[in-house]
């Protein structure tokens, strides 16, 4: 979090400029970068960002509001890092998306940021974090019983996550497991990290580490889990948390008979792989295994799935390409409609909200809601 543009120079200089970062794996070779899909140009690739960094370092361009807007126009979907092995080999701890975060932090330092980010910035400045803890009153009573994991319900920014948490609480009730929700600052810092709002982040992380250390914690939001697992230890080197994702938790419960599928009518579902659960945490099969264990559920894959999944556009905050967030979600919805499935299931509340902007909300489910309905 002390990184500057200068730290990116080596990585930027090894970019081959061949646009590999915009595409998914062979042989399908789908375009996965939302920017590139909209505007096929070297500029709108991960490499384009790296070349922009070089141009900034060499004084070929100034860090302006346009540059900041461009920096926030990346969705951070990680597909570039998954598909370019060159940059990761030079700066594995940063990668392309990490480099874009550094660019954002530089913009923030100069006071340049798009309006949605400025609002978060102001909130952090006044409150110290960007937390939306779920049921704060309930959290005060929370206590881990040592057998079940704490549920991480801190960054509840989306309606999709609220619905998933409510469903999860019901599921825990069905299993007879006492819910133990962890309530501390109400923010893990993942959003602040992704948006380059790094000023107060180290102290937030240090504080959260005290609450999380050595506990078993179940995450519903893959962004939070990715951040806590991968980044906290960089700030607090001896930090260790036993992290599990809700899809792993539910899969175990269904496999071990702690949750019993109910007989229900047939339904055809399509599954959207959230970027940070899939590319970030490598969980592609667990949600599919859950669906396969539920009665009457037929999975129909969308064209771009698993490692080739396409982003929902939820984290595009810039407007360098107008309506990019909206068009990215629309593109994903279009792909889903092509499957002819009845329901779209996913495992991230942000995706639920983002896709729900352009689709009948009643036909979108967080996988936790879906399991609750069918057990």
């Amino acid at each position: 979090m002390n990184l500057t543009l200068k730290d990116l120079e080596d990585a930027a200089r090894v970019c081959l400029r061949d646009g590999r970062c915009a595409y998914g794996p062979w042989p399908e070779g789908h375009i996965l970068c939302p920017l590139y899909l909209r505007e096929p140009s070297f500029t709108f690739t991960g490499g384009g960002y790296l070349f922009l960094v070089l141009a900034l370092l060499e004084g070929k361009i100034d860090l302006t509001e346009e540059v900041a807007d461009f920096a926030y126009s990346c969705s951070g979907c990680l597909s570039c890092d998954e598909n370019c092995h060159i940059i990761a080999s030079v700066k594995p701890e940063i990668g392309i998306v990490g480099a874009i975060r550094v660019l954002r932090s530089e913009a923030v330092r100069k006071g340049l940021m798009p309006q949605p980010i400025r609002m978060i910035y102001e909130e952090v400045r006044s409150k110290g974090d960007f937390g939306r803890p779920w049921r704060a009153v309930f959290q005060k009573q929370a206590a881990g019983n040592g057998e079940t994991p704490f549920v991480f319900a801190e960054c509840v920014h989306s309606e999709g996550t609220v619905r998933a948490l409510e469903a999860f609480e019901r599921l825990l009730g069905k299993m007879g497991v006492p819910a133990s929700f962890l309530g501390t600052k109400g923010c893990c810092g993942a959003s602040l990290y992704e948006y380059g709002l790094w000023n107060r982040l180290p102290e937030l992380i240090e504080e959260n580490c005290k609450a999380l250390a050595d506990k078993e914690v179940c995450f519903l939001n893959p962004h939070c889990q990715y951040f806590v697992e991968r980044v906290y230890a960089r700030v607090v080197p001896d930090f260790h948390v036993r992290a599990t994702n809700v899809v792993q938790f539910l899969l175990a419960a269904l496999s071990e008979g702690r949750l019993i599928p109910r007989r229900k009518g047939k339904v055809r579902v399509s599954y959207h792989d959230p970027c940070y659960l899939g590319r970030g945490l490598g969980m592609y099969e667990e949600p599919r295994q859950i669906l396969s264990l539920l009665d009457g559920v037929e999975l129909i894959e969308v064209g771009r799935n698993r490692e080739s999944s396409f982003c929902c556009g939820s984290r595009i905050m810039g407007n360098y390409l107008s309506r990019l967030s909206e068009e990215t979600a629309e593109e994903r919805v279009r792909e889903f409609k092509e499957t002819g499935a009845d329901l779209l299931v996913t495992a991230c509340g942000d995706c639920v909200d983002s896709l729900g902007r352009f689709f009948d909300r009643e036909r979108i489910r967080h996988i936790v809601e879906f399991v609750d309905e069918r057990t």
Binding site: V14, D18, S41, I61
Partner: protein
């Protein structure tokens, strides 16, 4: 009306960009072989989506006398021109035809090897590949006449080109210039015009479509491995088997390259230390200096015989034969990499070495007896730079049934070592001169060679003057010295 406005009006505003971010990111679009290449900010970047867009762009550029540089995704050699237009053809990426009767594919300029290979899956055909990453464009490779498999038999991938001249004229070079005829034949009753646009580096016209050779996947295919301690023996072996029509193609790899090139990035980290600290001239005990891969294919009975012939010829030339089992035991990564290379061609390839450093290389074509001298000379020269440039990779293979051999050798110095890289580039220029003078070795690119080809350049300049009187195309592409013509 400005140039941009006029262009936007003719071809559509979404295809013309002049925002600062686009201009600075295209300021060094020239391929990453050398990040020290000068920064040249274009005035516009144009993304044609149709042939007509290309025609209109060239017509307007001609009126304004603005230089135009054409790129597929990232040009290997061509430099761009300060203040010029970059014509980025990546949006033209359709595979227009796969003709499995005559064996050709018609592609637009933005089609990548990954895309073509994927489209060919299940058709019973494959395309020729080199050591470039799969995201390289087929036309980039074909038009720069890079090294690739099948060059043993064919010197070029190209059968037929569609070209737009600087004044907007459109024509085709091969059999398709007859109305209603397909692209199966490069040579008709007229001169072979495709030759003018291969290694023309975009200075004569803009290629908007090409028919390229594809090859049938035979009933059986197998890679034969033979190891040699001397390059001269490897060349004799390849000459013998190619001369007797045995392999589809054959490649000689040096040990630095065959041990590291086929690896994935994670494997590279485990293998590279051995190579990084070694002298390329002296492989460790039990590691052959060269590995020759011969791609054998055909009917089952024939391939069995081919294998036996390769075994016999290799042994008669002091070589050893490495069975698949032995390769799997001794060089598992190499075997796995070659299986990919000759099987499905995934995306790791030479690009893996870029994780270690920037490529600086020397290329030469020479007659078989001379290429042996060139190799000794080049390996000594590269060793002189020390281990900082390891791995010192080379591959070498015959062209045109062995009439000529290519040697391509390169090192991978750290990108930050600008002084070392500068010295290497300077020395390589001297090496090209010496190799030409002493061994009759022909370079692969024209840089620095303009004064050594007699009246040829004058003829080329006259053609350029006739086709492009305002010198708008490929002005800094390197075909002509310092942007002249």
């Amino acid at each position: 009306m400005t140039l941009k406005e006029e262009l936007a009006e003719r071809i559509g505003p979404g295809k013309v960009r002049d925002d600062e971010i686009t201009l600075v990111t295209y300021g060094r679009i020239c391929h990453g072989f050398d990040h020290m290449a000068p920064f040249r900010r274009p005035s516009l970047v144009v993304f044609p989506e149709t042939r007509q867009d290309v025609c209109e762009t060239l017509k307007i550029a001609n009126v304004y006398k603005v230089p135009v540089t054409v790129v597929g995704t990232a040009p290997i050699m061509a430099g761009t021109t300060e203040g010029g237009i970059i014509l980025d053809q990546r949006r033209r990426d359709k595979i227009l035809e796969i003709n499995t009767d005559a064996g050709y594919a018609v592609v637009e300029p933005g089609v990548t090897f990954d895309k073509l290979m994927a489209a060919l899956k299940g058709t019973g055909f494959k395309c020729s590949v080199g050591t470039m990453p799969g995201s390289a464009t087929v036309l980039g490779q074909a038009l720069s006449r890079g090294s690739q498999s099948f060059s043993t038999r064919y010197l070029s991938l190209v059968l037929d080109l569609e070209v737009v001249l600087p004044d907007g004229t459109v024509f085709t070079t091969g059999s398709s210039h007859f109305d209603g005829v397909g692209s199966h034949l490069r040579y008709g009753p007229f001169p072979d015009m495709a030759g003018l646009f291969t290694c023309g580096y975009g200075a004569f016209g803009v290629v908007t479509k090409a028919a390229i050779r594809i090859h049938p996947v035979n009933q059986v295919y197998k890679v034969h491995f033979a190891g040699f301690d001397r390059y001269a023996d490897s060349v004799e072996y390849v000459k013998a088997i190619v001369g007797n029509n045995i392999p589809e193609h054959a490649v000689i790899w040096n040990w630095h390259m065959y041990l590291t090139w086929p690896l994935s990035p994670s494997d590279l980290r485990s293998w590279l230390p051995l190579v990084l600290n070694s002298d390329v001239r002296r492989p460790p005990e039990g590691v052959p200096y060269n590995l020759v891969t011969s791609f054998l294919s055909g009917y089952e009975e024939v391939v069995e015989v081919y294998e036996k012939v390769c075994d016999r010829v290799a042994r008669s030339l002091k070589g050893i034969v490495l069975s698949e089992e032995e390769m799997a035991r001794r060089f598992p990564h190499t075997l796995s990499g070659f299986r990919d290379q000759y099987g499905m061609y995934p995306r790791h390839r030479e690009a893996v070495h870029w994780c270690k450093g920037r490529f600086v290389g020397f290329y030469a074509f020479a007659a078989p007896k001379d290429i042996k001298e060139v190799e000794r000379f080049a390996v000594d020269e590269f060793s002189g730079f020390g281990s900082a440039i390891n791995p010192v990779n080379y591959y070498s293979h015959p062209f045109d049934f062995g009439r000529s051999f290519l040697l391509r050798i390169g090192g991978f110095p750290d990108p930050r070592e600008t002084e070392l890289r500068g010295k290497m580039l300077e020395r390589i220029e001297q090496m090209q001169e010496k190799a030409l003078r002493e061994f009759g070795a022909v370079p692969i690119r024209p840089l620095g060679m303009w004064g050594k080809v007699g009246p040829f350049m004058d003829v080329l300049r006259r053609i350029k003057g006739a086709l492009d009187p305002n010198n708008i195309l490929g002005r800094d592409s390197g075909l002509f010295d310092r942007g002249s013509r």
